[in-house]
């Protein structure tokens, strides 16, 4: 709003002072391209250059072992796709992203419905559920790692409740640990989803809900036929950010399992971190390019499908 006014006011001034100046020419002379340079420099240095580096280095042999960098064409890509590790990491990343998207949205929506009314307790509860969102992801990871250890607090509680010794290794199962880690990730971010769903629910007009009530619609019918379709934009945003954000996931998994057990939670970013640490900078860059392409390929159809749902609004 303020930018619009700032742009508009000199034009009005100029128009008042010189009756000849048409709006087109005055706009051009008032805002020479030169003015763009400071912003452009920031954009180029901090955004374009790193992005371009990310593309360029993927085609080189940049490593910590020598000083010169040479172009090697598509060799890094060929090597990567030949070894099964990359494909495994891609698969793990995709499974993880889908799990997080599902859990985070289910939890977020349930919380939003539960805490919808503006009571004092609900307001307090909303804050409590939002706190994990602002916590450090690594801290969350390490806390859960301690809780979920075989001799950790969770097993301690379960042992007391059941009366037998429970020593399940929650983070040591090659099949189920990825689900546990996805649950931790969703736990951290469900507060954000809750907030966005709450905002969506608040925009629904009372008239519509009252009409439904007068027609005798139950809570479930109202939710299924009216409220859920009406929060479609919130769903689009939540699913897209959860899915695409968790594909770039690293911190929580690194803190809880470091990609283990047996590589079953090795997300692409953990693989990239490991490769970079070995001094294979070019190969690590190639992987991040592959991740970028994968996120892009997935983002467009997902967002398109979700946006289609909004067309009824």
């Amino acid at each position: 709003m303020s930018t619009n006014r700032a742009l508009a006011s000199p034009k009005i001034l100029r128009g008042a002072l010189s009756p000849r100046g048409s709006s087109r020419s005055s706009a051009r002379s008032d805002h020479p391209a030169l003015f763009l340079i400071p912003a452009l420099v920031v954009l180029v240095v901090f955004f374009f250059v790193p992005t371009i580096f990310n593309f360029v280095y993927a085609f080189t042999d940049w490593s910590s072992f020598k000083s010169d960098i040479g172009f090697v064409g598509f060799e890094n890509f060929a090597d990567l796709f030949q070894s099964g590790t990359l494909l495994n990491a891609l698969k793990v990343t995709l499974v993880y992203a889908v799990l997080v998207a599902v859990f985070q949205n289910v939890f977020g929506l349930l919380l939003a419905l539960l805490l919808e009314r503006d009571t004092r307790i609900n307001r307090f509860a909303r804050v409590m559920f939002f706190i994990p969102v602002v916590m450090s992801a690594l801290a969350v990871g390490y806390i859960f790692q301690a809780l979920l250890k075989p001799d950790g607090a969770l097993n301690g509680i379960l042992s007391t409740l059941t009366g037998t010794t429970v020593s399940t290794a929650w983070l040591g199962d090659t099949t189920w640990t990825i689900v546990v880690v996805a649950l931790v990730h969703s736990w951290k971010w469900m507060g954000l989803s809750m907030l966005i769903y709450l905002a969506g629910l608040k925009t629904i007009s009372d008239d519509v809900l009252e009409a439904a009530r007068l027609d005798g619609a139950s809570w479930l019918t109202t939710f299924r036929s009216i409220r859920f379709p009406l929060i479609a934009p919130a769903l689009t945003f939540n699913v897209a950010t959860a899915l695409l954000g968790s594909m770039n996931g690293f911190d929580i998994v690194q803190a809880t399992t470091e990609g283990g057990p047996g590589g079953t939670t090795e997300l692409l970013n953990i693989f990239i971190f490991r490769t970079f640490g070995q001094g294979l900078f070019a190969q690590a860059t190639t992987m991040s390019l592959v991740l970028f392409v994968m996120v892009a390929v997935l983002a467009f159809p997902v967002i398109r499908i979700l946006r289609k749902r909004e067309d009824v609004l």
Binding site: V44, W62, S63, K66, S67, D68, G172, G260, P261, G263
Partner: protein
């Protein structure tokens, strides 16, 4: 407006491309020929030096720094680089950031990883070398016949830490003298209802020692030279055989039942409590034991012997806290000051360093304090006859431990472990430009 946008986009694209022109930001100064060594007490007022250290080595130089600052007037700062230390330093150096000195694993693979020829100062003809125990002088720190690292404490040795009480309770009086008797002892303890060996599958990094100690004889016979040249692979019988043996011992049930979830901390606690009889580990394991108990108890309960197929031969593996490298920063004055600090550290300051660190001396003229635990003395006694580990002798250090941990978890077969290690080794060797890859 459209034209403006277009020209802006053109400017953006060209300037970005210009900036992105390929150059290695980590290409440092070039290391000169073996340089002169200033006297230890040369005045350095106004000179400041930075040492990079890891979380577990950042207090190691305290006494040396205090002494050096008093003697020369220099100002020395220790900067702690968070773990994972090696990765952090490699990334910093790659992007053009360098200290004057840093703690660094003095092995060929890690010196290569720092691009020693370009980034590090040569330490040939250092004044302290004549004082170092001849058996230890040249075991590590060298790359392509140039010395790049100064060893300040004894390197770690892979070997067997055992609980003396468990041995006594089960009538074991003679320590194993070769691999066969070592495994036989394990089986004997197992049938007596004792857990013979303890492994930390969850923390992963300790898994590689079991494979490496089996390769000690082959290493003495030039195994790693052949691997470095691409003439022998991890998948060939020697290394594959060691992996297979490790897998079969696990299958046989000679290890702890919770091998998949056990951690480094669990391992130390288990050996100390006598829940397990033996652990194949390196010196940092003893550090863990020291954090759990006092020297007297440890002297009474914990012993050490090296092991290899043919006898009691250790495999040494220097780590980051054992040595320092001096960077070729391009500032001749500071480079000389770095060399001077190392001369002092291993010269007039060494006795004090050994005393305050309570560590084993590398120089016969400087006595080892008698407060050093006996197990560590056994470790250092084995160094003279030990051979280099994979980390010490191979040109690259693949993630063998991760793949072995995968094997313990059941997601890789022994053959897949060897293949994955070989693939990664070849990738690293190729990136280094090694012949044969």
């Amino acid at each position: 407006m459209k034209k403006n946008l277009l020209s802006a986009a053109v400017i953006a694209a060209t300037s970005a491309l210009l900036l992105a022109g390929c150059s290695d930001p980590g290409a440092g100064g070039t290391s000169a020929d073996p340089a002169s060594w200033p006297d230890q007490d040369t005045d350095l007022s106004g000179t400041s030096l930075t040492i990079w250290a890891a979380q577990n080595s950042n207090t190691v130089p305290d006494s040396v720094i205090a002494g050096f600052e008093d003697l020369t007037g220099a100002e020395v700062t220790v900067e702690t680089i968070p773990d994972p230390y090696e990765q952090g330093i490699q990334t910093k150096v790659a992007t053009g950031d360098m200290p004057d000195l840093a703690f660094w694993q003095p092995t060929a693979s890690q010196l290569t990883a720092l691009n020693a020829g370009t980034n590090l100062q040569s330490l040939d003809d250092a004044p302290w070398l004549e004082n170092v125990d001849p058996a230890l002088r040249d075991i590590t720190g060298l790359l392509d016949d140039t010395r790049y690292a100064a060893l300040v404490s004894t390197p770690a040795v892979q070997g067997v830490y055992y609980n003396k009480d468990v041995f006594t309770a089960n009538g074991v009086t003679e320590l194993p003298t070769d691999w066969e008797s070592f495994i036989e002892l394990g089986r004997q303890l197992d049938s007596a209802g004792v857990t013979p060996f303890y492994e930390m599958g969850a923390d992963r990094w300790g898994t590689q020692w079991w494979v490496q100690v089996q390769l000690a004889d082959a290493a003495a016979d030039g195994l790693w030279d052949r691997v470095n040249a691409g003439d022998e692979k991890f998948t060939d019988p020697t290394i594959q055989g060691a992996i297979d043996t490790y897998a079969s011992l696990i299958d046989e049930g000679l290890f702890n039942d919770d091998i998949k979830t056990a951690t480094f901390e669990d391992q130390g606690a288990a050996l100390l409590a006598g829940d397990a009889a033996m652990v194949v580990q390196v010196n940092s394991f003893f550090g863990q034991l020291q954090s759990l108990s006092d020297t007297e108890t440890l002297n009474d309960t914990i012993g050490f012997f090296p092991i290899a197929p043919s006898g009691n031969i250790g495999s040494f593996i220097p780590d980051q806290s054992n040595a320092l490298v001096a960077f070729a920063t391009g500032d001749a004055e500071k480079e000389a000051a770095s060399r001077q600090l190392l001369s002092y550290w291993l010269g007039d300051g060494y006795a004090d360093f050994v005393e305050t660190q309570d560590t084993i001396s590398l120089q016969p003229s400087v006595p080892t304090p008698d407060t050093v635990p006996t197990a560590l003395v056994s470790v250092s006694e084995s160094i003279g006859t030990s051979v280099g580990s994979m980390q010490a002798l191979a040109i690259a250090n693949p993630d063998l431990y991760i793949f072995l941990a995968d094997m313990i978890q059941g997601t890789k077969t022994p053959a897949e472990v060897a293949q994955a290690t070989q693939d990664q080794f070849a990738q690293l060797a190729k990136a280094q430009g090694a012949d044969g890859f």
